[in-house]
Amino acid sequence: MERDLSFLIPELLLSSAAMLMIVAEMMRAARLALVIGLVGLAAATLLTLPMLHADTTVFSGTYRIDLISGWAKLILLPGTALALLMVRAEITGQDREGSVYALICLVTLGALMLAGGGDIMVLVLGVVLTGLGSFALVAFPRDDAATEAAMKYLVFGAVTGSVMIYGLTFWFGGVGSTLFSALGALDGRPLVPTVGLVAVIIGLGYKAALVPFHFWAPDAYDGAPVSIAAYLSVITKLAAIFAFAQVLRDLPLSSGWPLVIAVVSAVTMTYGYLTALVQTNLVRLIAYSSIAQSGYFMLGIVALGASSLAVPGLIVLGAAYVAMNLGAFAVVMISGRSLNDMRGFGRRRPVMGIVMVIFLLSLTGIPPLFGFVGKVYLFTAAIESGFVWLAVIGILNSVLALGVYLRIIVPMYQPAQDIDESSEKSPHPALVAVIGITALVTLGMGFLAGFLPA
């Protein structure tokens, strides 16, 4: 028991922090809640480091301490901290501010459960926990748009979640255990693995915003505060992708999942970028592009069984994605939500402009930025596992991606029309910090990619 708990220190720290934050919120001390959250996240991150190379499970296999969950903590916890800062910059002083911080930490906890889950029940709990918190976060402004977004998010989440739970019961029926590691017994059996697999694809696909489970994403991001959208687009999505990896690597290949996932991946990438091409709302544009990014992550999922690079690839691209997507959203918080706000942005704020270009190019996958390294891993993994066509589609989509991101970059350097100088206020320092950190990571980790997992 002590051993098991010692491996759970980061999670315990985070949950304690969350409860303290709730207490702080009761005292209406939002700032204190923020500080507690940040400290908790930092401490949890640091305490993750010693167990990075562990490969074990706790509580009889229901929770895994392995490469994926370790790195997921290293990625998600700092990412959450950055998101907290962004949220702080956006909603300072609003009612129930502290609840938001607490909920964010709780959702991250759910995300960690998803990333480390070794059991169907943990998976279910993770999905529901992240979902519940997210609905509330989206609804936080409680205006028309936010409630509409939250409602759609909720309906989608509730339906897909319940269908997933229903489908997962069949797995239990098939093997008599709720552990993923028992799924091997399904090898060669018809139907039962398929039902559960469909259930997982539905539940996690919804979380990761894969096509055709993505419909909620643009609306939810659009209705929510930008910082919340940034948080959701990064943390819950990554969690779902790590969960995919945790589940599917134990699922026998005989169920034919790689090809189906590959098709989903291809459709997702293409659909995301195509739709992004016609957006005029910057948040929606990034929302669609992040749908497409999920498609790229799926390259790694597809290759799980056949390539040793798949998991590192997911981790690397995940880390990159946290940095670049959070960064891009942070810049959007400064520039404004409409594509028109970007006109001349690069000339008005040269540094922000350059940074935004870095984020967008990294999202496109231009070397030597961080996003490129991740994509190389994943393309390599996909090719190694025989999905050359998928890699080719991914590569072709990179061109589409370029078109999408150039839609932002090009106006940034066009002369701006009638900009009201007085409306330009200096950005919140927390935001600047976030942008600085994410930019450094996006730029620097491309070179230092060697520190990433093998």
Partner: protein, 486 residues
């Protein structure tokens, strides 16, 4: 001392320093630019003096980068890359001098140029597949912003075209690199070269992917259409770098990757590649003949000249005679350098002309030779160099390429028609711009000033030097090519 690393990253460090610098006036920026590129040029001279070795790479610098996938930071040189490195550092140095007049957002311009230099040097020196690709792509981004930011009238479109085209072009290379990696377990290009890891159909697929990439970059018919557009709109220094340095990525890659890493497939596809080279050479020449825009004309001649390089490489793969192969590769490599010198100079001269006249259309000029003798005579000399006049830079290279071609695939010698056509088009351009009766419009035109002469004269001297006594350059190339194993 890790001179290669130093030379590669000094420019970008200079650029970063410039960003940090409190005083970022145009003067400071250009001073920085000239100083940094000058130092890099000196460094490459020192690197040159250290020399290469036969049968492999010299001056290797290696550092772990992503050990997980066998990618490392590896730099090194051989007789193929060293001349190109020298060319790169020289052209960037001269471009920096030339650009010293640009005042519009000078610091950004300088940073971009310096970034491009890092990318270009890195591309030529990289010995790691992934690293190569990284530099290769960075150059693309830099050039996009260069064209989009400082180009002429229709720059946004040209830049977009350039970017999409070459990005679409470069991604297949990534596939090929990944393929090579998966079959060898490392990104070390030396391993790929020593023991080509791919065979059979896989090698052919990888070759096709690489050929696509490099054909876009070279550019070869029929994926060349971005080049004239990009050149016409690019600022002068951009054109110089684009033509002088970046087109070489394509041909360099053709030798380094396609030829050396998939030699068997390359030999199988040799005739096709040769045909592409021949068609490019002829097509470029004829298309250039039909232009009245001077910059576009030179751009098309680049297609012609690069076509010769492709021919040389293809012939090297086709022939069984070791001697002919060496001749072909010598010629192809020398052609890359010559093209950099000559076309670089031509674009500089056109830029100077355009600075004065704000026009590139040859029909708008006439009789300028008397008005601007320096400009005119430099142009004439360079034009003749470009059309392959003996005693000037292109002759030895083209001679070798043709010699090897005729003795390997005699049909391909029809490409020699192109030398007549280029002669015709250059003479026509010279006649239209510099000869004939003087156009009243340009009576006030100034001749080259000291800075401009400083840019042009080294190129003139080198052009003659390479033409008259190429041995200082070609012996270095020869040593490597002779011992090239594939």
């Amino acid at each position: 001392m890790p001179l290669l690393t130093l030379a590669t990253f000094l420019p970008i460090l200079g650029g970063l320093a410039l960003i940090v610098l409190p005083n970022r006036s145009a003067r400071v920026a250009h001073g920085m630019s000239i100083a940094v590129t000058g130092v890099v040029f000196m460094l490459t001279l020192v690197i040159w003096s250290r020399g290469t070795i036969a049968g492999g790479f010299a001056q290797i610098e290696e550092l772990a980068w992503i050990p997980a996938i066998g990618a490392a930071y590896r730099l090194g040189l051989d007789g193929l890359s060293l001349p190109l490195v020298l060319l790169t550092s020289l052209l960037f140095f001269l471009s920096a001098i030339y650009s010293a007049r640009i005042s519009d957002r000078a610091p950004s311009y300088v940073v971009l140029m310096l970034m491009l230099e890092t990318a270009a040097l890195g591309t030529f020196m990289a010995l790691d597949g992934l690293l190569f690709y990284v530099f290769f792509e960075v150059s693309l981004v830099g050039m996009y912003f260069m064209i989009a930011g400082w180009g002429y009238e229709d720059r946004q479109r040209a830049a977009l075209m350039f970017f999409i085209y070459t990005l679409l072009g470069s991604l297949p290379l990534l596939l090929a690199i990944i393929g090579l990696y998966l079959s060898s377990g490392t990104f070390d290009m030396r391993v790929w070269i020593d023991m080509p890891p791919l065979t059979g159909i896989a090698a052919m697929l990888a070759l096709i992917a690489m050929l696509f990439t490099f054909a876009v970059k070279i550019p070869a018919f029929p994926v060349h259409t971005w080049l004239p557009a990009a050149h016409v709109q690019a600022p002068t220094a951009g054109s110089v770098i684009l033509a002088g340095v970046m087109l070489k990525f394509g041909t360099y890659g053709l030798v380094r990757f396609a030829l050396q890493m998939t030699p068997e497939a390359f030999a199988q596809a040799g005739q096709v590649i040769l045909a592409v080279g021949v068609v490019s050479a002829l097509y470029g020449a004829f298309a250039a003949l039909a232009q009245s825009d001077l910059k576009k004309m030179i751009a098309y001649t680049s297609i012609n000249h690069m076509g010769y390089v492709v021919m040389g490489v293809a012939v090297a793969a086709l022939t069984v005679d070791l001697r002919i192969r060496t001749i072909a590769l010598d010629g192809a490599t020398l052609q890359m350098v010559s093209h950099g010198l000559v076309t670089g100079a031509l674009f500089f001269l056109l830029g100077m002309l355009q600075d004065r006249a704000h026009s590139r259309d040859m029909s708008e000029f006439g009789g300028l030779l008397g008005r601007v003798p320096w400009l005119g005579w430099s142009f004439i000399l360079m034009a003749f160099a470009s059309l392959g006049l003996p005693g000037l830079a292109h002759f030895p290279a083209e001679f070798q390429v043709f010699l090897a071609t005729l003795n390997t695939a005699p049909w391909a010698i029809i490409a020699i028609l192109a030398i007549v056509v280029t002669a015709g088009l250059y003479l026509r351009a010279i006649a239209a711009v510099f000869l004939g009766s003087e156009n009243e419009k340009w009576l006030e035109m100034r001749d080259l000033d000291r800075r401009e002469k400083l840019v042009i004269v080294p190129l003139l001297i080198l052009t003659v030097l390479v033409g008259v006594a190429p041995s200082w350059l070609i012996n270095m190339i020869h040593t490597t090519m002779e011992s090239l194993s594939f």
